[in-house]
Subunit: 122 residues, 4 copies
């Protein structure tokens, strides 16, 4: 048993997959919201977010898509915006032993809110 | 049913309590790590972190303790440090319907790591 | 001479007042943008931002006003928003020896941009 | 005259070069400190920081070096650390009309502090 596993003996593998994915999603949002971004820099930012969040416990993959339309419509002379939750569509996949979870961050128009939810779980 | 509830129909109340607490803990860490802090400002920072994270979905209370010893031992002439994970001891309590979870962030010496884990859950 | 002063011997006191105020303003924006906030928590967040940024070198005072109107108009069921640059009106005053600078962050409608500029300097 | 220039008519080009470089450095530090990083992800993080901060006003180039030694010495089973100021060596070059400034962030051992200073200015 890994030393840290005793801290997780009170939850199931499915629950830990959900737990670690949720931490990663909260972390991702609050680490990177506010970052300056435009059409030229969006790709390297997506890749860095994916790479950074992939090192977290139990995370097997991270896919980040930043809304290009918003970037193309920038209407100030400074030619960039601060990354906001509305611009993000993110999938974090976690694996804990035999269980897998897919956590999603997506702006939901009817809620007017960038929602984090469990899109799929074993 | 609240409009957002359909996004959570695939997990149990216990799982959602864990999910929302984990998001909040990841968010808290990555929002506030790096904040300048010293013995004079530590109280207002603790309170602001508690208040800010209490507004997140399902969160019923947040307790933040920043290590005073580290602040008292600051050994540079600038008289402050950047908040780091090692300095944080945090409890986030979430309630989802009839289920409650207590998520903890604590520096674990034997792991040399600020661990987030589920300390208690119904 | 303080040990750090040799690093600033190539600029004037007026320039250092501007320099340190600008660092503090950039720091403030990127540390706190993204923080969850609503009408109940806005005061403690303003105070914590003021306290945190006041510890930086040469900073003599920080005044933070977060736009209440935006908070009152929150139109989602989650009852909070993420702090954004558009909501912030900030004054950072720095003193370097006999020189003082007032750095301002303010959303400028005609620029559609939260601008940082030197509002006043000796 | 660009619309924003009236906000800078009270400072010289040299001062604005210093001002914008300082904002960018403060922003960079507080946006990215806390990001998970290890030897595998360090390159994409360096590039994303450089790209993101290059879009800020007057910034002509950004060079970021994250200390590899610290990453190689990670002594926990999670195999990553949170980016801290101690790990960063950054050069931000700004140009304002005929004036250029080089702002540096570097950990200074004798100060035990990650110092931001003006390394060179016209």
């Amino acid at each position: 048993m890994e030393p840290e596993e005793k801290y997780f003996s009170n939850i199931t593998n499915r629950e830990r997959a959900i737990f670690e994915g949720a931490i990663t999603m909260g972390a991702l949002f609050h680490q990177f919201v506010g970052t300056p971004v435009n059409s030229d820099t969006v790709k390297s930012l997506e890749k860095a977010i994916e790479d950074a969040m992939s090192v977290q416990p139990c995370v097997s993959s991270v896919e980040v898509v930043i809304d290009r339309e918003i970037l193309e419509e920038i209407s100030n002379e400074f030619d960039y915006v601060s990354l906001s939750g509305e611009m993000l569509d993110v999938k974090v996949t976690t694996v804990c032993s035999d269980k897998q979870a897919l956590i999603r961050l997506k702006f939901i128009s009817e809620l007017n809110y960038p929602l984090m939810y469990v899109e799929d779980v074993d």
